[in-house]
């Protein structure tokens, strides 16, 4: 337990540092200051990496029966979702921000369903959750493609599916009690988010070249 707490303590410090930097970036993105595509890229990478980390923290706590920790991680995960939606809203209209948030929260719900299915060894629940997540990938691809014609729906959906698979790997390793495996998978999952953040930033910069100094 002490070893786990130490790991979590370090992780929490890293998270606080990342969020402090993120808060500055959010302020810059939401204000009238023109931000560059590179600023966008950094911000989205930070937010999406944070998403994976917090999701893993929440699922690990849930599978470990650590209710207090789960609630804290889930709360931070939702705050990250709000921050992500605000990043979207800073580019598109506020109604797109709200639509994004609702859609994003939906996939977190499916991940919770999968985690619950794993915890209760309910294969049917696990399979349904995976099916829902794969369906969600198409929804998310359609959403971004609709907002930005530079983002092909199928390409985005494919990237989201990889995100689902990598996060599933983290959850499965956590459920098996394989901590080294879980953290290894988490690093892989975090690293993959760059494949979403980078093209998203690039596509936004291409869509609004004057706004983002292209």
């Amino acid at each position: 337990m002490h070893r786990k707490m130490t790991i979590l303590g370090v992780a929490a410090l890293l998270l606080v540092g990342a969020r402090a930097g993120q808060a500055q970036m959010q302020a810059k993105m939401s204000g009238s200051t023109i931000v560059s595509v590179s600023d966008l890229r950094v911000s989205l990478n930070n937010l999406l990496a944070e998403h994976v980390f917090l999701a893993g923290a929440a699922t690990g706590a849930a599978l470990g029966g650590r209710d207090g920790e789960f609630k804290a991680a889930a709360g931070a995960l939702d705050a990250n979702s709000v921050a992500l939606s605000q990043a979207i809203g800073s580019v598109y209209r506020s109604d797109a921000e709200q639509a994004f948030l609702a859609l994003w929260r939906k996939h977190i719900g499916f991940a919770v369903d999968y985690t619950t299915g794993v915890a209760t060894k309910d294969k049917a629940k696990q399979d349904k959750a995976v099916s829902d997540l794969l369906g969600y990938a198409n929804d998310f691809g359609a959403f971004l493609s609709s907002a930005n014609p530079n983002l092909p729906k199928d390409a985005v959906a494919g990237l989201v599916k990889t995100h689902i698979v990598t996060l599933k790997g983290v959850i499965d390793a956590q459920a098996a009690g394989d901590l080294p495996g879980a953290y290894s998978k988490a690093r892989e999952a975090v690293g993959h988010m760059r494949m979403i953040a980078d093209p998203l930033a690039g596509a936004i910069g291409k869509q609004f070249p004057k706004k983002y100094g292209q």
Binding site: A99, N138, A142, F143
Partner: protein, 115 residues
Amino acid sequence: MGKLVWVVAVAGVALRGGPPTDPPGAEAVAIQTFQFRPKVLEIKPGTQVTWTNGDDIEHTVTAGAPDTAQQTFDHSLGAQGSTFRFTFERPGRYPYFCSRHQFMRGEVRVTGGER
């Protein structure tokens, strides 16, 4: 012949009751980026509303709310560009939603007399 053509033309205008008018009341709702735009549409009774799916994903236009879906209309718009039309005859508020993405909500408000 020229006078005959002129007489026919004048008669045609008289029969039509003047220059061509706008089509009967029709309004549109765009489904774009998982939103109904406009979210609230105000119309007169007898107005036909056309929903057009601008997203590359299936949406529905389902009367009511997720917990209280109604029979008034429930139409799937599978393909991008597909449309659904419905004429609202009676005054009232008609909330609707997408059954596949239940956070998508809209409302048609029918007020006043006929167009």
